[in-house]
């Protein structure tokens, strides 16, 4: 009557390939390996080891995509709106080295370099060195435009670990149109080839709008990635940045559910896919944080609200503050900025209110999440204590 079912655990959840990669790290990057082992040992205690995603060079980009969450951070956008560039101080190489030190101390082992387009940053080599590729896995997020064989060799020689290339449609014309950059698709294909030849870890990322997961194009894209043995990282379009008013692009639960079905069929994943032996969930703070060029930490790649500035306060305190925020820390399945209209409203209202006073994003902690705690009772921080009062009946 009953059929036995496998019980997955840390010991069984890693594939042979993942196990080999981890073993390789013990030889190539022993400190990274040590931090990964520590994270697995301590995750049940509530220890986190999120990716830190660095937006460098004031998010400068050579593309003008329809769905860009970064446009409001770019000088070109600020110039259009205010006539002048972003006046805030950019983190220095020394600041990044200090961030790397604090991240290492915290047990963080992954940095993603992004922008805009990270490869436009003239200081990127210095930055990679400052972050220390022997202590952290350095992942390059690129649109692929300039990532040719030479760039791949250069990145690998610096100790770069992985390349994440954006491809928003498997149909060449659609991708180029969405990205507003003719020839972009071909450059992506070149970048894929170059990454493979250089032996870099590789993944493709693609952004889905409502209903795309049901399309033949998306199925073909998944097939292509399986055939080429390239993991496909799927992000949900968010109604922020240039897409702020595009509520109709927001994925419904049926889109997400279908995506989760496809995960059983193809090597595709989202930021909410179960990983590292943890269930699929919104990964704000605990899974990923973005560091703006001025040091503001945003608890998700797609939000515009800060939880603190790492050039002013220690990284560990900012992480702790974020984890105790009622929206950001506690367990929840859905992507709050991609699916939860209550949060999207709170977020976009906070941003709109802030933009009336200043064109500079993100909204500082004191004017966003902190105020929300008082005005909307959204924040748990100190109001929910850790002590259960015994009751007498």
């Amino acid at each position: 009557m009953q059929t036995s079912i496998p019980l997955f655990s840390q010991d069984t959840i890693l594939t042979g390939i993942e196990e080999k990669k981890r073993q390789d790290q013990s030889e190539v990057r022993p400190r990274v390996h040590e931090k990964i082992q520590n994270f697995f040992r301590d995750m049940s205690s509530g220890v986190i080891s999120p990716i830190l995603r660095l937006k460098t060079n004031r998010s400068l980009c050579n593309f003008h995509c329809d769905h860009c969450c970064e446009e409001p951070y770019m000088d070109r956008d600020l110039k259009k709106k205010t006539g002048s560039r972003d006046p805030r101080k950019h983190m220095t190489i020394e600041d990044y080295a200090e961030l790397s030190r604090q991240a290492d101390e915290y047990g963080i082992f992954r940095f993603v370099l992004t922008g805009g387009e990270a490869l436009l940053d003239k200081n990127i080599e210095e930055l990679i060195v400052a972050l220390d590729p022997m202590k952290h896995l350095i992942i390059l997020d690129t649109n692929g435009w300039t990532f040719d064989e030479e760039k791949a060799r250069w990145f690998a020689s610096l100790g770069g670990y992985k390349v994440q290339i954006s491809l928003d449609s498997y149909v060449e014309e659609e991708h180029d149109s969405f990205r507003k950059k003719p020839g972009s698709y071909k450059r992506v294909m070149r970048a894929i080839k170059a990454s493979k030849e250089e032996g870099l870890e590789l993944l493709l990322s693609t952004c889905i709008v409502k209903d795309r997961v049901f399309s033949q194009e998306f199925e073909d894209f998944c097939e292509y990635c399986s055939t080429e043995d390239i993991p496909l990282y799927v992000t949900l379009v968010k109604p922020v940045g240039t897409a702020r008013d595009q509520d109709d692009w927001v994925c419904a639960k049926e889109d997400i559910d279908h995506l989760k079905n496809l995960e059983d069929k193809y090597n595709i994943f989202t930021h909410m896919t179960p990983s590292y032996g943890q269930p699929g969930k919104c990964i704000t703070v605990k899974g990923i944080n973005t560091v703006n060029h001025d040091g503001e930490i945003i608890p998700c790649p797609y939000m515009d609200l800060s939880i603190g500035n790492v050039t002013h306060m220690p990284l560990a305190e900012i992480m702790d503050r974020g984890m105790k925020d009622k929206w950001l820390g506690p367990y929840r399945d859905e992507c709050i900025i991609g699916e939860n209209f209550n949060f999207i409203k709170f977020h976009n209202d906070s941003v709109a209110k802030h933009l009336k006073k200043s064109p500079l994003l993100p909204v500082p902690y004191e004017q966003g999440f902190a105020i929300a705690g008082k005005e909307d009772k959204n924040i748990a921080i100190s109001t929910v204590g850790n002590t259960i009062t015994e009751v007498t009946v």
Partner: protein
Amino acid sequence: MRPLNNSQTLFDDNGRRIPYEGMRVFNEISLPYYKINQSKTSFEGILSNSRQYASIDSNITAESFESVCMGLKKKAQDEPLLKNLFNGIQIPFICPKALLEDDLGIELEKITLPSIASSFKAVYPELHFKATLQGSSQLSGKLSVATDSRYERFIEAHRNGAIAGWYFPQALQEYDIASQRVQMKTLPFYDGLTLSGGLDTAAALVGSPDLLINADDYPPVLCLSALKHDDERLMLCFKSYGQHLEFWCMSQMLTPEVTQVSEQWSGGLTLFAPID
């Protein structure tokens, strides 16, 4: 939050236990973001599933199953403190007599979870049921009944024979695990009302495999808080992943110092009686 007062109704209009001073809850008044659709499976359908996938005695009839459940319902509705409990989602279930194991972990691993897998896969062959233990945790020899949960009464009845009853999956929505347990001290019906654990919740899922299927909304995470893992950082639950169904033994720690208070986590209550 209001102080504890045992002279008034303990449940709100949606059948959720009203939190009182000292409880850790996400919202004092629960928001209806995480939803379960009331299953339409009949007593006959539930019994049929439970016979097929959970070794329920074939002598038990749908009439006797329904009769026990309706008797419990009347008893609860006659109790002023439990007024409104049946306003919430309510799932009839029938749980088989214990087959072989004394160990709660082994029973879950070898009998209970495979029953759910069979029942779920029979209705949804294209979806998965997956059980994952976080870290290097185990179930065998590691589970016990949580203090205050009253679940020892359920286990005792389970060892003596089959059990029928009602599972209220969202009665303790947004409560942290410790508060789910502590509030049990305030409830009436010591012998027939327990904090939900693995066997009863599993029986509800075997009988109504669509319990966590929701095309439009995210369902809650069903905490099995009457069961305690030796490693007190861990909790047990059933949850959906998309339309898939999953069992997890995972951390309940928000940070190394603080346990989770999640809007999505829900403790359940189980009203039960033996059935011949």
